[in-house]
Each structure stands twice: as structure tokens, then as C-alpha cells.
């Protein structure tokens, strides 16, 4: 770990791992939106943080001036050796046009609603099983005993990886997304076991083919040719990382909100049909994911003197709090009817797994509320949050105050 000075002014020295930001970023973003609105930092080798809906969406759609060669801010920039632009290390999220369209078309059929909806019984069984494991307990941890095991269990099945390896995936996710202030050498060392694990899984799937996403990626052909092994590897990494931390965070934030807002919990218990609308507001208000871009060339953009390879932190969660677009933007409105949020990003890199995420959120919240009609935080200060580009509660100690005792 590197010892970093605490941030004094986020407008000129922002850091998304600073303890103040990790604890509660929203006042920081509201302040920056009013006075910058694009903040700068010299940390991580230099970067920019747009905070308005307009600026965030403009950059998200602008693939001429920004590259997605890497989407997670770290101290080092990716080298061109392993998988050069426009492919990148984890296609399609790391790919630029024109290759991006090819890589995205490969994954989209696997995440289309018609396919994803078929997972509902599996997801429900997983949720019920997790709740059964804590049956009768007054104290539970909604993050470490529930939320984290739903997307990780689903992605494990999707990829066809061994059941016992779920805790290993959670460790991988932590390394990739939260170890970002480690040195380049530390990052390489930390990544080695993840690489070895996935290569071993690919080999096992080649030797023993089955019907899952891994074998689909190994076999799928684009213009008569199979994908390069590095491409398959990268898309598996993407599925593993982007499919777990994100939904875990969104689900955790939703349960945390309900635990601290009994009026919203009571409303959902009484009006279960409201859930899909409430989920959109959870996604807007607690959007977990910020993406990154790199500036392609030196340029003046949005009034900023951007340099080649400067980072852009694409704060979709900050855009979702922009009062120019959302009425009472800093108020959670459980039945907000007009909600053009960008929690899944937008443009060519819009989340390919949004249908799966929404399904997991709906089923996991339905089952949780069906089991517990009333619950509260044991201690609000005991809730801990992840750091970096995916924000969510990592520990949510709850006291169950009314359980349906459903068998």
C-alpha cells in the first residue's frame, strides 16, 4: 500500500479512494458540480472527473476523443503488449470501435432477456437457500451472508465454474477493483493467481465441454474464426468482475436503505408491485458503478487542458444526482415515475448485463422482504463501504424485528 496524503480540495486533487469520499461521496459531488464542474487530480498520473449529467453522457458517447483501453483507474497505464487497442484486456468493455461492435455482438445473445429470464428459478432457489441458512437468527449480515453470494453464485453457474470457488471469485473482485492504489508490480503479482485460475478453467472446459458461457466463448465463431484465447480470457474476466461486485453493491445498498428507511420498507411490503419502480430509484440513487476512460490525444475539452493518457472518471452515480435532470435529485423517491438514470452507463459500452442485474435485484429483494417484513441496522456506524469505482456496503449488520417465519 502506498501512503497517500488526505485530500484537502477535491476540485484540484480528487481521489476516489480518499476516506471522506468512500464514507459519503454525494456532498463532494454536489459541491464539485456547482463550482467546477470538471474536477482535476494529479494522482494516478493525472485525471479528470466530470460531475454533471451532460458532461458525463457527452464523454461516455465520445469514442473519438476517449479510449476504453482500460476502464479501471490505477497507478499504471496498460501496455500495448498483451492485447493492444482497439481490443483491450477485457473485450468488449475495453474495446474501441470498430472492434468493439464485434466483441459486443459475441456477448449480447448470452445476456438477452429471453435467455436471462430463464435464470429466474435458479436465482430464486439460491436466495431461498441463503435465507434458509440464517433462519431464526435475530442478527444477520445482509451483505456478507446474502447480497455477495447472489451475483457470485449466478455468475459461477453462468460460466460453469466449480461451486466451491465462489469465495475465490469474491477475493479476485476485491483485488481487481479495490487494490487500485497498489504499485504496478504489486498489481501484476496480485493478478497472477487470477490469470492462472481462469486459464485452468478454460483448459478444463476444452477437455470437458458443457453447455455454459465459457464453452460458448471458446466455440463461437466470428467470420468463420474462433476468438483468440486472450479474447476468451478477457471476456471471462469481465464477466467475473463486472457481474459480481456491481449487483452485490446495488443489492446491498437497497437493503441498507430499507433498513434505515422503515417507511420505504413498509411501502414495499404493502405494495410489492412497486418493486420494479423502486429498483430503478435504487439504481439512480445508489448507482454503484463509475467507469474510466483515457484521453486519446492532448486537447482542450469541456474547458479543460486534457493530456494524452489522462484518466477520466466517468461518474454515472454523480450524473444521477444532477438537479438539472432530476427533480429533488438528492431525495430518494420510491415511486419516481420519470427516471432517466444512467446507472448502467450509456452509448456503445452500456452494461450488457443489465437484464440479469435487474432480475437478480428483483428476485433477491422479493425473497428478502417476503422473509423479513421489518429489520433495522444494528449500528449505522458499523456499515462499511467498498472503495474505488464500485460503491456498495460490504458489511450490513441487521437486527430482524419481524420475520414471517416462512418455511
Amino acid at each position: 500500500m502506498t501512503d497517500k496524503p488526505t485530500v484537502e480540495d477535491f476540485a484540484t486533487d480528487w481521489d476516489h479512494t480518499d476516506p471522506t469520499w468512500v464514507h459519503d461521496p454525494y456532498p463532494i459531488w454536489d459541491d464539485l458540480r456547482q463550482r467546477c464542474p470538471v474536477a482535476h487530480t494529479t494522482r494516478y498520473g493525472g485525471g479528470w472527473f466530470p460531475t454533471t449529467y451532460e458532461d458525463v453522457t457527452t464523454i461516455a458517447k465520445d469514442t473519438d476523443h476517449f479510449t476504453s483501453r482500460t476502464v479501471v483507474i490505477a497507478n499504471g497505464r496498460p501496455t500495448e503488449e498483451a492485447m493492444p487497442a482497439p481490443i483491450g484486456v477485457s473485450p468488449p468493455i475495453s474495446s474501441d470501435p470498430p472492434f468493439h461492435a464485434i466483441a459486443r455482438k459475441v456477448v449480447l445473445p448470452a445476456f438477452a432477456p429471453g435467455v436471462i429470464n430463464g435464470y429466474e428459478p435458479t436465482i430464486r432457489a439460491l436466495c431461498v437457500d441463503l435465507l434458509d441458512q440464517v433462519r431464526g437468527q435475530e442478527f444477520i449480515n445482509a451483505s456478507s451472508q446474502y447480497a455477495q453470494y447472489i451475483p457470485s453464485g449466478v455468475i459461477r453457474r453462468l460460466l460453469g465454474f466449480p461451486e466451491d470457488d465462489v469465495d475465490l471469485f469474491l477475493k479476485f473482485v476485491h483485488v481487481v477493483l479495490e487494490g487500485i492504489d497498489h504499485s504496478v508490480d504489486e498489481r501484476i503479482e496480485e493478478f497472477a493467481p487470477i490469470e492462472a485460475y481462469i486459464v485452468a478453467q478454460m483448459e478444463d472446459h476444452m477437455a470437458h465441454p458443457r453447455d455454459d458461457l465459457t464453452n460458448y466463448l471458446l466455440n463461437v465463431e466470428v467470420e468463420g474464426e474462433r476468438l483468440a484465447p486472450e479474447h476468451v480470457f478477457g471476456t471471462i474476466i469481465l464477466t467475473l468482475i463486472a457481474g459480481i461486485d456491481t449487483t452485490w453493491s446495488a443489492l446491498g445498498s437497497a437493503i441498507w436503505h430499507l433498513a434505515s428507511h422503515p417507511e420505504d420498507l413498509a411501502r414495499l411490503v404493502g405494495e410489492p408491485d412497486l418493486l420494479p419502480m423502486a429498483i430503478e430509484e435504487f439504481l439512480r440513487f445508489y448507482a454503484p458503478v463509475s467507469m474510466a476512460r483515457l484521453v486519446k490525444h492532448d486537447m482542450e475539452y469541456l474547458g479543460c487542458a486534457m493530456k494524452e493518457d489522462d484518466w477520466i472518471l466517468l461518474g454515472f452515480p454523480a450524473a444521477n444526482r444532477d438537479p438539472l435532470v432530476f427533480e429533488d435529485a438528492d431525495t430518494f423517491i420510491i415511486d419516481r415515475a420519470e427516471n432517466r438514470h444512467v446507472a448502467f452507463g450509456l452509448g456503445i459500452h452500456r452494461c450488457a448485463g443489465s437484464n440479469l442485474a435487474r432480475l437478480e435485484l428483483r428476485v433477491a429483494l422479493e425473497e428478502f422482504i417476503a422473509r423479513y417484513s421489518s429489520f433495522e441496522l444494528v449500528d449505522p456506524d458499523a456499515v462499511t463501504w467498498s472503495q474505488g469505482q464500485v460503491r456498495g456496503p460490504r458489511s450490513i449488520p441487521l437486527r430482524v424485528t419481524a420475520s414471517t417465519g416462512r418455511e
Binding site: 445473445p109 445476456f111 438477452a112 429471453g114 415515475a337 420519470e338 432517466r340 438514470h341 444512467v342 450488457a352
Partner: protein
């Protein structure tokens, strides 16, 4: 999804308009709500 009587998906999961997209008064209201919720601004209504 919003207004499933108006919108569906193709095999890639991209949104498509079902039928020829002609709307009656009730579904027009639902289409307007879907339009107001589309982050891509991809829904257009001709009147």
C-alpha cells in the same frame, strides 16, 4: 420493462417496437412514460 405491449427485444437484447408501432390513447401514455425513462433518448413518437 416498461410498456411490454409496445416494446420487445431482438435476439441481441436490443429494444424493438412490436407490430407497426401504432398506439391508442392508453398506450400512448405508456409510450410517453417509456420515452421519459429512456437514457439513450432512443424513443421517438410521431403524432
Amino acid at each position: 420493462m416498461m410498456a411490454p405491449e409496445i416494446f420487445g427485444f431482438d435476439d441481441l437484447g436490443n429494444g424493438v417496437v412490436l407490430d407497426d408501432g401504432t398506439l391508442d390513447a392508453a398506450s400512448l401514455e405508456r409510450a410517453r412514460l417509456a420515452q421519459a425513462n429512456c437514457p439513450e433518448h432512443a424513443i421517438f413518437i410521431d403524432e
